[in-house]
Assembly symmetry: C2
Homo-oligomer: 401 residues x 2
Amino acid sequence: MAAAVDTERFLRDLDDLREIGRYKTGVHRPTYSPQDMESRRWLMARMEECGLEPSIDGIGNVLGRHRGPGPHLLVGSHIETQSHAGWLDGALGVVAGLALARAGLPVDVAAFADEEGHFEGGFLGSRSIIGALSDEEIDRSRNRTDGTPLRDALAAAGLAGLPRMTLDRDRYRGFLEMHIEQGTQLEGAGERVGVVTGIVAIWQWRITVEGAQDHAGGTTMAERRDAGLAAVRLLAAIDREFPRVCAERTTWTTGRIALEPGAPSIIPGRADVLFQFRDVEVPVLERLETTLRALVRESNRRERCTATLDQMSRATPALCDPGFMDALAAAAEARAPGQWRRMPSGAGHDAQWIGRVMPAAMLFVPSIGGISHHWAEDTKREHLALGCEVLADAAARILSR
Amino acid sequence: MAAAVDTERFLRDLDDLREIGRYKTGVHRPTYSPQDMESRRWLMARMEECGLEPSIDGIGNVLGRHRGPGPHLLVGSHIETQSHAGWLDGALGVVAGLALARAGLPVDVAAFADEEGHFEGGFLGSRSIIGALSDEEIDRSRNRTDGTPLRDALAAAGLAGLPRMTLDRDRYRGFLEMHIEQGTQLEGAGERVGVVTGIVAIWQWRITVEGAQDHAGGTTMAERRDAGLAAVRLLAAIDREFPRVCAERTTWTTGRIALEPGAPSIIPGRADVLFQFRDVEVPVLERLETTLRALVRESNRRERCTATLDQMSRATPALCDPGFMDALAAAAEARAPGQWRRMPSGAGHDAQWIGRVMPAAMLFVPSIGGISHHWAEDTKREHLALGCEVLADAAARILSR
């Protein structure tokens, strides 16, 4: 089963999709926004064009079903974006799926909803389709930016009442997802594609520090219970200690620090911190958690403020299917001899959820300057085209077994 | 000139004013809000009642002029509050002025606008009335919370086009302001009033750290330019170094830390920090500035992010008038023998501006638990009453010289 991909058309589709919610050289398509829903309608029209049977479900998942006989592969990613973010990210994997369908491969194409986690929980689409998203969680979940209840957002997007799809596991050999690297390893090594070995787990935490809101002039330094200062000291301690217990590819990030009330002349009475760390090894993640908990205990012994730790997510690392990896590796070696590598993914992807119920693997293309989740995100067009060809080649190898 | 203050009526006025913009046990009257303007109208009605001639000007200053012959004293403070803050703060000094007028003292009563600095610049009223607020600054100034232009806020409050008052310096012996301590020195020492010796200067800074917004998973720790982490390290260095160069009563505060974009999985590309320090001694303030600038230089040498320092305010400490302080001290010793002290004010007050053009002094009453700029702020009613009597006694002494 040879697959000749129309890379010109593939790139043109990407350019067309880029116009929906355009922001500078990137796009702004938050989950369930008018721009996001327009992109999903655009996708369903493209699916029709290449002979797929499109449908959208009650969580916003778009699936284009191949009308012919199997065996089938599921190919895709997500189509919404972070705020004012890049044009490729998940859109690349979805449009690559279209390209494989256009090339005549028996693939279904999927765009899962809210991989980016605009709503509490995140990965709503890929979790929903494998049965890992309860109605109760949907009832509870709110938009992380403006607090809009998920149910209200679904209703506003016209999705209320639609049934939620369940993945037909027997229909597929497995799942393939193409994505930008979101780092600089490929670019730095002058390589053109990456075969993903596994996806790191993200352990996300909320650190809340309670102090006493007070006047910044009338209250002596000795009298203060400055929640902001206690948070800064704790984060500085993490910055000191984590390098001693992390692994080679571990990352940790403080994405948000909010001081209340946040005025120049008021001692913060409360600090809210979003902190996360990522690794592919559970023992490493557990070591980091032990260190974090010890630092919080130490802070509470030393400070006149109380820090509390809430774990918001505790994923398990997802390893890619060895057979699928071999197919991707063979395709990479055939199309870009010596210019590819096997590498872990530092970011979470829909494949980590789909991989729970069927074989799954991922292919990376280089990110220029490693820029990601920012409107300046980009990838050389030759790398986009090559990645799509490698993906099609690997899909053909998997399907012809 | 003996002054018998009706302390019952004084406390009742405070209780009535407390109902305007009430929030829990405190009040919410941001500058030029409907609640703030209602409180100014309430004040003008009270002024009429006690024989004063009320007027309001183009910046929101309310002045009640004594109709009889001089010599006169100006007595007052501000009537707007911080967000969800205390019922006394500036309102106390304004209502105390009413009490002195009711007692027959030849005083004018003033409520200056935006002492709390809801708008850029702050102290709009007291600066305007002494000629230290230009129309250009009014054109530029915006609300610090929601960015509303000051001109728009003045128009919405019905103040657009009204002339701005200028203080008639020859009319007054000087200015007296009563205020809560906003600290715990009086309470801690079991004392009942404080005679303020001077007002600390606030040097307010904006620290901006520029890094590179990036994906929290795809970007290795070595590749990052994390603006939030660089800000945390700088603030931790300030926390380490400032105790070595500060004076006994110096305070320093980080009121706000804002990371952009502020999402859990995005490395902050920018950090905005509001930082200030306060002291009564200029040499101490200059030593702190030197240290701060050195720490920012050190950060820029060490980090892959760039920190820049903008000074938002650079006040000079204001010392109270010695003769007025003696009058307040004599009144305090007469009404609360051995239960008062002389003390500096750690907070800024309108008196620091009025004191630039005429003699000025301040009287403090204890703050329960030192709580200030929070709805739980409070003072014992006996301390409120005593403070008002001491203020009236001191005013009589000053006027009878």
